[in-house]
């Protein structure tokens, strides 16, 4: 058991807390599933100690290159619009986040997930499972080849439909940087109607969930390219003490 080793307070990083408006409030009644699940008591500010400023550095042994191409893992090619999704992962100070594990999942082109609890009456595609993963490179870049997912209905309210999206899960390098989110496609007419998309309070922050068509990513005669950059919390090397920038939970 460690008994008070010398801990140099000058070298422990801290991760300033997000400004209000970026992350959705857990209590968002328009998204019905929050009603019995979103905690009602205010969260307590946890000073960032060793457990919070470190985190799992995983991936090397969990990823092969083929995991980043969701269109080539089965006997045939999946149906739908082949697309490339690429971008950079950085922290809010602009530093690339290299070697971090990204995991994605999505519906197929018909808007159906390859999951037993998805009962949407749309066809499954035997050539598409909707799961992908990759590690960012030394510059924080990632790249997936996949199929553009379809919109699909859900039970939130009458005639509720989710805009097309791809789920993203990222670790970063510290417990504080962990992020699970969704990437949307430009110009989707369902944006205005979707309580999940609109759960992000700041419209400019909501905009950052939308990828952009990029002709420099698009490959002629093969696939449209979309760019989506991801920004995780920044890091300050500073004194080891609680940092209270507002009490909004992240």
């Amino acid at each position: 058991m460690t008994t008070n080793p010398l801990l140099d307070p000058r070298v422990l990083p801290s991760y300033p807390r997000p400004v209000p408006g970026v992350h959705p409030p857990l209590d968002t009644p328009a998204y019905r599933s929050t009603l019995l699940r979103a905690p009602k008591q205010p969260a307590i500010v946890l000073p960032q100690g060793l457990t919070e400023v470190t985190g799992p550095l995983l991936g090397e042994d969990r990823v092969v290159v083929a995991d980043a191409d969701l269109t080539t893992r089965h006997a045939g090619e999946p149906l739908g619009e082949r697309i490339i999704v690429t971008g950079r992962v950085r922290d809010s100070d602009g530093r690339p986040v290299p070697g971090t594990l990204i995991e994605i999942w999505q519906a197929n082109a018909a808007g159906r997930y390859a999951h037993k609890i998805d009962d949407h009456l749309a066809p499954l595609d035997p050539n598409f499972d909707g799961a992908g993963r990759c590690l960012t490179d030394s510059e924080g870049r990632y790249r997936f080849v996949t199929i553009k997912p379809g919109a699909y209905p859900w039970a939130n309210h009458r005639n509720a439909w989710r805009p097309a999206h791809i789920h993203f899960s990222l670790f970063g390098r510290a417990f504080t940087q962990r992020l699970v989110t969704q990437m949307y496609f430009p110009g989707d007419p369902l944006f205005a109607l979707d309580p999940v998309f609109n759960s992000v309070p700041d419209p400019k922050a909501r905009e950052r969930l939308v990828c952009r068509l990029d002709m420099s990513v698009t490959e002629p005669d093969w696939a449209l390219g979309f760019r989506w950059d991801i920004v995780l919390r920044g890091r300050e090397a500073t004194v080891f003490e609680p940092r209270e920038r507002g009490r909004e939970r992240r």
């Binding site: 422990l12 995983l58 971008g87």
Partner: protein, 220 residues
């Protein structure tokens, strides 16, 4: 629902990135969104719940249920844990105590520090791990052995974060600066995993998202 539809600008050839810099010159963060109901397509790892392999000498188990505000089990939730090794070290370059070696026991026992477990239809989860060591804290205080926990589920638009402490570490828990910051003993008790009588090394920790005995959640 907010009447504020967003229509992103059409991108042109000059476009280089999807994030603008704010007035302070820092990049604005990407918002969180819920994992939704279909995370099991991609996120479960066969070895996820095993922070060390089952049967590792000194291994403990931590298990329990995730419950919603109606007391119903939350199925298809994902729990992730992060913790120090039994010596109170992290396999991470930002551990300032120079723990270059990485994993505990020279990696021999395959300690990963990180666990990931999906809940089953009854809302149950179970991790196999090693008891973490104590950690230094500024000003000479010491953190009691604990795991940080993230909970992800449909209906949670962002992860919720809690901590697992151990019921048989009473002296360390009393001195813990985080537990000490929670005035209400009933609230504090929601963070303590209970040693199971007659089952050495087994701990029970339920997570109640809402209700009178709701678990304490943290902003990190």
């Amino acid at each position: 629902m907010r009447p504020n539809p967003f229509h992103p600008p059409v991108s042109g050839p000059e476009y280089v990135g999807s994030n603008g810099e704010d007035e302070k010159g820092s990049l604005p963060l990407t918002p969180s969104q819920t994992v939704g109901p279909f995370l099991a397509i991609s996120l479960p790892w066969a070895d996820g719940p095993y922070v060390v392999p089952e049967g590792t000498p000194g291994a403990i188990t931590i298990g329990g249920k995730v419950l919603d505000g109606a007391g119903e089990p939350v199925a298809e939730a994902m729990l992730e844990t992060w913790q120090a090794d039994p010596d109170g070290r992290f396999a991470h370059p930002d551990d300032p105590r120079g723990n270059g070696a990485g994993t505990w026991g020279g990696g021999a026992v395959g300690f990963r520090g990180f666990g990931r477990c999906m809940t089953d239809a009854a809302g149950r989860y179970r991790f196999v791990t090693l008891r973490p060591g104590r950690l230094p804290w500024p000003g000479g205080a010491t953190e009691a052995p604990h795991l940080d926990v993230s909970v992800f589920a449909r209906g949670l638009l962002d992860r919720v974060v809690t901590r697992i402490y151990f019921s048989d570490e009473q002296a360390a828990n009393v001195a813990d600066p985080v537990l000490g910051g929670i005035a209400d003993p009933d609230r504090r008790a929601t963070l303590i995993a209970a040693a199971q009588p007659g089952l050495p090394g087994e701990f029970r920790f339920d997570i109640r998202l809402q209700g009178e005995r709701a678990t304490v959640f943290f902003v990190v």
